[in-house]
């Protein structure tokens, strides 16, 4: 049986209802894995709960939660870097000699295959990014955060943040270049 909610608990529940899906999207893009994304959302709200009394409402709740989620995702990605290394080896092995020629006029089934190949390569390339590169790229590309904000969130200089975004795009480009 659920215990009765207090006023603050009701407010917190509202945050969960309003922001869960957006945080899931962010977490999934940062990890590429549904289970990890769910774990990050859960951990984000737990951390948010612990500091909810100190949240004074000056920042937007979405921005506050977003920042916590980015940190949770970074922690998880760092802790699982060894898995990323394994994926990198697997992807490198499967990429060898299986290049699909680019074609803008390919018929339906070929186009579908091409699209699947693009996604497969993209997924592998995203996994090959270092946690910091991936975080910087996701924040810049999907979340539209300016470099200056990314540098603050990731605790690095603006030049370093710029380099991270650039390196990430370069790696994605190298992975997709023959196909798009």
């Amino acid at each position: 049986m659920s215990r009765p909610e207090t006023g603050r608990e009701g407010e917190f529940r509202l945050l969960v209802e309003q922001h869960s899906r957006a945080l899931f999207g962010l977490a999934w893009r940062m990890t590429g894995n549904q289970q990890d994304a769910e774990e990050i959302v859960q951990e984000t709200f737990l951390r948010a709960y612990r500091s909810f009394d100190r949240f004074d409402g000056r920042a937007q709740p979405g921005t506050w939660l977003h920042r916590i989620a980015v940190n949770c995702a970074l922690d998880l990605l760092r802790a699982r870097r060894h898995d990323a290394g394994r994926v990198e080896l697997e992807a490198a092995g499967s990429d060898a000699g299986d290049a699909v020629p680019a074609s803008d006029t390919a018929p339906g089934p070929d186009r579908l295959l091409l699209s699947a190949e693009v996604q497969r390569r993209l997924t592998a390339a995203l996994r090959r990014l270092s946690p910091i590169e991936r975080a910087a790229f996701v924040l810049r590309h999907y979340e539209g955060c300016p470099i200056e904000e990314i540098s603050r969130e990731l605790g690095m200089s603006e030049n370093a943040a710029k380099n991270c975004v650039f390196r990430a795009v370069q790696k994605l480009r190298e992975a997709l270049q023959p196909l798009v």
Partner: protein
């Protein structure tokens, strides 16, 4: 002269300083325009990556999983009014305890685990594998961040003046951690790693104590310092050693 790939990426994200000039160049230069269009296609493919839908009732499911944990963590009083001063005091105590534990754990880890040799450090009754992996990741991150700052300065273009105030703050932050790792390596009797961390510390200190705006000559002096000792290469070697340890199934 063509636009660099980096400039194209920044332009695409609206972060290029000379956006108008780049736009004009793209209109006039077929090579750069083709490179930019190729970049657009890659990023368009990225946009099409489908994200899974967590389902209509996802938020309710999140709350259901959260609620019991919230009451356990808070002892049933998390949302009751607790005087802020008391909470701040408790937070400081927790932070101080956590900092002390972190120093002890890192030292124990570095002395007793990372460097081979007789294990004289008493084991702590903590979950070993998880703790060690986190610590390895922390050391790996320290080495990675150190490399990033050095690469950034090594590749900077010497101009009349370069603002390095953020790099300085970053270097100053890294010096403290580096000192801890270096001292632990020295005590563990690993002269090779101690020497690399010692070199790194000197460079970081030089960056941290240099003027916040560097002249071309000052930047070149730092760049020569980075290149002369092959510090970047040595850091990569140490980092790869740490990463290999990290990837072992049993941690260390």
């Amino acid at each position: 002269m063509h636009i660099s790939e980096e400039q194209l990426v920044l332009y695409r994200y609206g972060e290029a300083k000379d956006a108008a000039a780049i736009g004009e160049h793209l209109a006039a230069c077929a090579t750069c325009r083709a490179a930019y269009q190729s970049l657009e296609r890659v990023l368009a493919a990225v946009d099409q990556m489908p994200a899974p839908d967590p389902g209509e009732n996802y938020a309710a499911a999140v709350w259901q999983r959260l609620e019991p944990g919230l009451s356990d963590r808070a002892g049933g009083t998390a949302f009751q009014a607790v005087p802020h001063r008391l909470k701040a005091c408790a937070t400081w105590r927790r932070l101080a305890l956590a900092a002390a534990m972190a120093v002890l754990i890192v030292a124990a880890f570095l002395l007793g685990r990372f460097w081979p040799g007789p294990r004289t450090v008493a084991r702590q009754p903590l979950p070993e594998q998880v703790r060690e992996r986190i610590l390895l990741v922390a050391l790996g991150e320290h080495l990675e961040r150190s490399q990033m700052i050095l690469i950034e300065l090594a590749n900077a273009n010497p101009g009349p003046q370069l603002d390095v105030s953020s790099e300085q703050r970053w270097a100053a932050d890294l010096v403290g951690d580096n000192r801890l790792y270096r001292q632990a390596a020295a005590r563990a009797g690993d002269p090779a790693i101690t020497a690399v961390l010692d070199d790194l510390e000197r460079v970081l200190l030089e960056i941290a104590h240099s003027p916040s705006t560097l002249s071309g000559g000052e930047l070149e002096r730092i760049q020569r310092r980075i290149e002369s000792g092959d510090i970047l290469f040595k850091l990569r070697v140490v980092e790869s050693k740490v990463r290999r340890q990290e990837e072992k199934p049993n941690g260390l």
